[in-house]
Subunit: 332 residues, 2 copies
């Protein structure tokens, strides 16, 4: 039951370890007869290549590290799932680290993964500015792909949804429904998503009402903030509340119900992300769905391309923007 190595297979099939390695890896042409014998011996002995030794020799572990802010953020599990599938399809394993929304631990986790010789990193940066240095350092050592959130221009390859397009979808929809007094409830944090969605609102809201772009309340990405924000803005009777993500929207929905406001007749509420419970809210939340599978696939693809080269930072950094989709449900 002990580990069976190349040497054992070599002995059993009467040829050298080099040959066995070659037939199993298919790295160089080898005699048909020998190949058969070797393969037979390998399966008979139940040979399994030792990934650690292989990694040491090839200087590639076949693992990719994922560092994310908080796996408990309901938007991330689906992303993790798709990423895991995409990486697995490419024969790579996924190391996961949750950095508790803290840039310092984020940097530490990234460093640890680098020490563990990951072939590449997928990062969902905690903060657009505070994460930048650690991300840039990492990008100097291995291929890095930023997922869902950016980290300043030119730092690393990046895959994210087109937040501006998503917001435009929302604003068009609300305009078509005759809404004219929108209000935006966003996040003050310095994640790229928070900033982009707010900017897109401010840029596009004038189409509904010249005053609209100024109607912005900023807190954080939480249900509690959604509730609180409603208390602040409800007195001015908006006819649409656009939330920077679904958590905020769910909070808003809850508070509006408590206040006796009719959704969507009196006021529309829309979210962003389409987290699992967006469709479960009452009324079901209209939201912008992110193409999670495509995001993950694109990230994996970018990683694959970069890893062909030995140097981590050849060519300029690429940015992929995927267009989201508006999911019109009951809330607006």
């Amino acid at each position: 039951m002990a580990e069976v190595t190349l040497k054992d297979v070599a002995r059993a099939s009467g040829c050298s370890v080099a040959t066995v390695s070659r037939v199993l890896a298919g790295t160089r042409p080898v005699g048909a007869e020998t190949a058969r014998t070797v393969r037979e011996a390998a399966t008979r002995l139940g040979y399994r290549p030792n990934h650690v030794a292989r990694a040491l020799r090839r200087r590639a572990t076949g693992t990719v590290g994922l560092v994310l802010p908080q796996i408990t953020n309901p938007f991330f599990p689906a992303l993790v799932r798709e990423l895991e599938h995409a990486l697995h399809a490419a024969g790579r394993a996924l190391l996961l680290a949750d950095c508790d929304d803290d840039p310092t631990t984020e940097a530490a986790r990234i460093a640890e993964f680098l020490d563990r010789q990951v072939d590449a990193l997928v990062l969902i940066p905690v903060d657009e500015r505070l994460s930048r240095e650690a991300v840039a350092d990492a990008a100097r050592r291995v291929p890095v792909v930023l997922l869902d959130r950016g980290c300043g221009p030119g730092v690393a390859d990046s895959v994210a949804v087109d937040n501006a397009a998503g917001m435009a979808l929302v604003l068009d929809h609300l305009a078509a429904a005759g809404r004219r007094r929108p209000w935006f409830v966003g996040a003050a944090g310095t994640t790229s998503t928070a900033a982009e969605r707010r900017a897109a609102y401010e840029a596009g809201a004038a189409a509904l009402d010249p005053q609209a772009p100024g109607r912005v309340e900023l807190g954080d990405f939480s249900v509690a903030w959604g509730r609180e924000a409603v208390d602040r803005i409800w007195p001015s009777r908006p006819d649409a509340i656009i939330c920077a993500n679904d958590l905020i929207a769910v909070g808003a929905l809850q508070r509006l119900r408590q206040l006796g406001a009719e959704v969507p007749t009196e006021v529309a509420v829309v979210g962003f992300d389409d987290v699992p419970f967006a469709g479960l809210a009452d009324p079901a939340l209209t939201t912008v769905r992110q193409p999670v599978g495509e995001l993950a696939a694109e990230a994996a693809r970018l990683l694959g391309e970069r890893s062909g080269d030995r140097a981590p930072a050849v060519g300029p950094s690429r940015t992929v923007r995927l267009t989201p989709e508006l999911l019109v449900r009951a809330s607006g």
Copy 2:
């Protein structure tokens, strides 16, 4: 910027690689003066040990594989998070695999992790019976801890919540509130949690009403099933609906509202697990909270103990049961 190795540090500090290794690993006493010189050289050159080479030599990678049914199941992210933290505190990294609720891919992922020389495995088995063989095979090679769900007796160490105790908490609470016509909505699947919760209901419900233990409907762990189950049992007007998990409970809540039933005055609804949106439902869901942090910590502890020994299967398998807590909210 190339990799700096032990050899480089040795050269720079004027002693042998062996000595450098010893001072850095602290594995054997070494001269105070030499130690200082070596350490100084190491930090000056920015030496970082190569985990792959170390793993090859030590025959231990410092990684633990986690294979779970579906990361998108809202109960799991919190568990993953806590597990990641606990493992990280022990200096180990977490490899994650999502097997899409399929025992076959589950077995494949386990095998892959074994090939990657993980030091240990944490498994949340998909199915109590269908996962057994793969789990048993794995347990023969490395330490294995079953988390949250079991897999038959004696297969491997196991950490889970005491479902019977949790159900008892629920039944006591409902009895004290004067509920006498409970109904159980569970899952027909063959996961240990589904079976245990149902059994516990059947064992304890008689305290409320001799007929109660028979009032059981089985579907799966989903919101849709919760809705459907309500359609089936509402005609017989239960005064309490006990759901095998929160997803079912949320579905039940939704359908009850549509049917115009008053919760909790007319009928109480309780769930199990305390997933993130349990508190967000309307009315907020009364549920059984699982001690996620403790579960993860206990799993990590078990792993740590087993890994001391070289042989994976010394001593009988241990089972740890943690007692859950009833979270009384608005729904019952």
